[in-house]
Amino acid sequence: MEIERNILHIDFDSFFASVEQQANPLLRGKPIGVTGNSLTKGVVCAASIEAKRYGVKTGMPLFEAKKLCPNIIPVKGDFTKYQYIHEESLKIFNKYTNLVEPFSIDEAFLDITNTAKLFRSPENIAFLIKKDVFEHFGPYITCSIGIGPNKLMAKLVSDFNKPNGLFRVTKNNMNEVLKSVKLTDFCGIGPKINARLNSIGILNVKQLQDVDMETLYKEFGNLESRFLRNLSFGIGDTGIKNIEYNPEVKSIGHQHTLSKNTGDIGEIKSNLYRLSDMVGRRLRKKHLMGRTISIYLRDSDFKGLQQRITIKEHTDNSWKIFRTTTKLLNDMKWNRNTRLVGVSISNLVR
C-alpha cells in the first residue's frame, strides 16, 4: 500500500514588499511597490498587501499601478536582502526535513512524510516554521503554508487564507477543495490552457473530471491530457528534487556590452582577452578548473550566437581560455556588427 505523502508548500507573502516594510518602519502600513532600478518607470516586481487592496498586481507597469493607487510609494528592490532570506529560510526548512526543493526565491516544497511524527504533526511543523520565520526575520515577513498529498495540491491550498495562512488538504476534504477552486488556480493552467479548455466546453474542475479522454487527447495530446485529467482529481507529482542548499557554481562567465557596435575583429579579440582573464581569475580564486569553454556574441540586431568546445584537460589558465575562444571565434566566421561579447566555462571540477 502506498503511503499518503505529506508535502508542504511554503510561500512568503508579498515577499519583496514585506521585506522592505520590515527593514524600514516608515513604509509599514503603506501601499508600496518594489521596482527594479528606476523609481519612475518599469514594473512593480512586488506590491505590498496595502497596494494589493487597490488592485495593484505583480508585473504591472508602474504608471498603471499609479492610476489604481495614486499614493503608491515606489521602492527600489534590494536583491541582496531577498537572496539572504531565501538562503536562510532553506536552512530553517532543513531543520524539519532534508527533502527541500526551492521553487522560486520565495517558495519551496518540503516532503515531511517521514519526519512529521517527530514533530507531532504536519500542522505543527508548519507552525514551527512560521515561528522560526518570525523570530529570524521579524514580524512583517510572513509565509503562507499549504499541506497536501502532493506538490500540486499543497501549492493550490497555500493560496487559501493568505496572508500568514495555513491550510491542509487530505483525502477527507479533497472533493470540497476541488469544487471550490477555478481551473486557473492550479499551477499549470495559465490563461492560454484555460482558453483551450473553455473552447472544448470545460469551464470548471467538475467538467474536467467528466470530459471523455478522447476529447481531451484531441486538444492536448497524450502527456498534457493525462496531466490535466489527474489534476482535476487532485493527483500530482510527489517527487521532491532534493536540492539541499548548495552554492556550488556550475559555470563561470563574464560578458561585456560594447559602448558602440563594432565590426573590428581586433576589438572583439581584445575583449575576449580581458573576459578570459576575468574568468580565469575567478576559477583560480575558487580553486576550480573547467573543460567546456563557450563564447557568446550578439550583433546590433540583438541576435546572438554561441559556440562551445570541450577541451581535453581541465584548465584554469586564462591564456588557454583566450586561445580557445579565439579559435572558436575564427571557426564561427563572425562578420556581423558586434554589440556584446561573452566568455564562459563549465564542466567544472575542484
Partner: protein, 81 residues
C-alpha cells in the same frame, strides 16, 4: 523619501549574546541614536563579508553596513518622511 549615501561613519556597538548591536553613529560630525534594529542581512562583495543593518532613529531610518575586511562602517541609505 529615499536618499542614497555612501559615507564613512563611526559606530558605537554593544556586544551581546545575540551579536553586535549598533547603538549610535556619527555622520558629518552629528550623532544619531539608533532606537531599533529592524533587519540584519549579509552579502558578499568578492571575498569580503558585508553585514547590513536596517535601523531606525526617532524619525528617520537608515541602512548602515559593516565591512568585515577593513572593519569600516558606511552609511548607505537614509529614509525620511
Amino acid at each position: 523619501m529615499q536618499e542614497k549615501v555612501n559615507d564613512q561613519i563611526y559606530v558605537t556597538i554593544e556586544f551581546s549574546k545575540q551579536g553586535p548591536k549598533p547603538q549610535k553613529f556619527i555622520w558629518k560630525n552629528k550623532e544619531y541614536d539608533i532606537k531599533n534594529i529592524n533587519f540584519v542581512h549579509q552579502s558578499k562583495e568578492g571575498d569580503t563579508l558585508l553585514t547590513h543593518f536596517s535601523v531606525s532613529g526617532k524619525t528617520d531610518s537608515y541602512k548602515i553596513t559593516f565591512n568585515s575586511k577593513d572593519l569600516s562602517w558606511k552609511l548607505n541609505e537614509i529614509y525620511f518622511t
